[in-house]
């Protein structure tokens, strides 16, 4: 049986990280705490599927999740990486559409589920939370628009460097201070960068040859972060 420390309580969540829900008024936090349903998803398990009807929002308590589209030819495009405290499933709910992306656990993950009706009603009553939600959406939109520009204008080498830095921003390093704190397949890295798997592998090998990274299976160590930033050619 999977053992995970029990944090399935919105009050304790608030102390651990800054979820949008923490910004709700106390009475609503309590309401959410009562009605939520918590579950553990094993690595590779699906939270929801592209094309199905949204039934609520998810809040990650512990673990990591990827959110991805399936392209017209069936190729996966990873559009977001999520960690503890992050909320997902709200996009489709707010638009009143079916899920446009699938969510899959990248490792064993503990997640709370908040039913659609509750989420909507709290959002309608709590202007502060609504504002935080708008801010969250705006931030995501900003990131998406930056990604559009980079996909359109930057070569794959720069995008891979940027992606590695993005993974580092999202999940940080392990205790050694250099190993990226997530295990992604080369294919997943490619689907994040927006390139062919072979190209991602090839460029990672080049980065290794240049001493920028060290590769040990799915473990990626960033040896020269500055060089990586230079390679990513970031202005912003």
């Amino acid at each position: 049986m999977l053992q995970m420390h029990d944090h399935t309580n919105c009050q304790s969540c608030n102390q651990r990280f800054n979820s949008v829900f923490c910004k709700a008024r106390e009475e609503y936090v309590n309401l959410i705490n009562e009605q939520k349903v918590c579950n553990v998803y094993r690595k590779g398990q699906t939270l929801f599927n592209e094309g199905s009807n949204p039934f609520g929002v998810f809040c990650i308590n512990e673990g990591k999740v990827k959110l991805s589209h399936l392209g017209d030819d069936g190729k996966e495009q990873i559009i977001r990486l999520l960690k503890q405290g992050d909320v997902l499933g709200y996009r489709a709910l707010l638009s009143g559409e079916r899920y446009s992306a699938s969510a899959v656990a990248l490792e064993d993950t503990q997640i709370c589920f908040i039913p659609k009706e509750l989420f909507i009603s709290v959002l309608k009553q709590d202007a502060g939370l609504a504002f935080e939600m708008m801010k969250l959406l705006s931030d995501e939109l900003h990131k998406a628009e930056l990604k559009i520009t980079h996909l359109a204008q930057k070569p794959i080498r720069e995008r891979l460097a940027e992606t590695l830095l993005f993974i580092k921003e999202t999940y940080g390093y392990e205790d050694d201070g250099i190993t990226l704190n997530v295990r992604l397949s080369r294919e997943e890295i490619a689907n994040l960068v927006g390139t062919a798997t072979e190209s991602a592998i090839r460029l990672l090998s080049e980065f290794k040859k240049d001493g920028i990274v060290e590769l040990d299976g799915k473990k990626i160590k960033i040896l020269k972060q500055k060089e990586l930033i230079r390679t990513a050619n970031l202005q912003d």
Copy 2:
């Protein structure tokens, strides 16, 4: 002197199109109507610049606007095309950041300006409007994520076809029922597709040779819409 029909009145706007602001409660529509400032921007004039501080939101009364990022190497990436009834400038305001994009009039355009404080305060009081705003943001986010997938996975030929269809969706046809109702330079089309100007020109020529479009300067006529849809290879 530029002559434009005077629609600078939120009540009459409501009858003409469905702006988010039309969804506000009547008292707030009236408040906005009183405090807004209307102006005409000539073709090519800038509403706001990437990097500057947001001072409010704009609502297009009549005309067309492009919203674009500057890539790290100075190349423009057009991220949105806007028409009458559309609102812009809210992204940065809600995120509490500087503008991440510039807005430029594509033709002579009449625009109302709503000051930041008013926008925020109405948004905080009117839950219905806040909800519409979240819906708007969610829809934009969805579009952006689709675009990311297409940029990452589709060849330029398909993306150009898709872009032409997108322009048609946004601005429609002129009275003849086939001419796209906007004038964009080849460079702007390329910056919408995310490709080099020469590639956009070349592929447009191919579309013309295939009888899919007819080119007459900046006028683009869609002769075979079905063929264009097939070329875009859209699933969704």
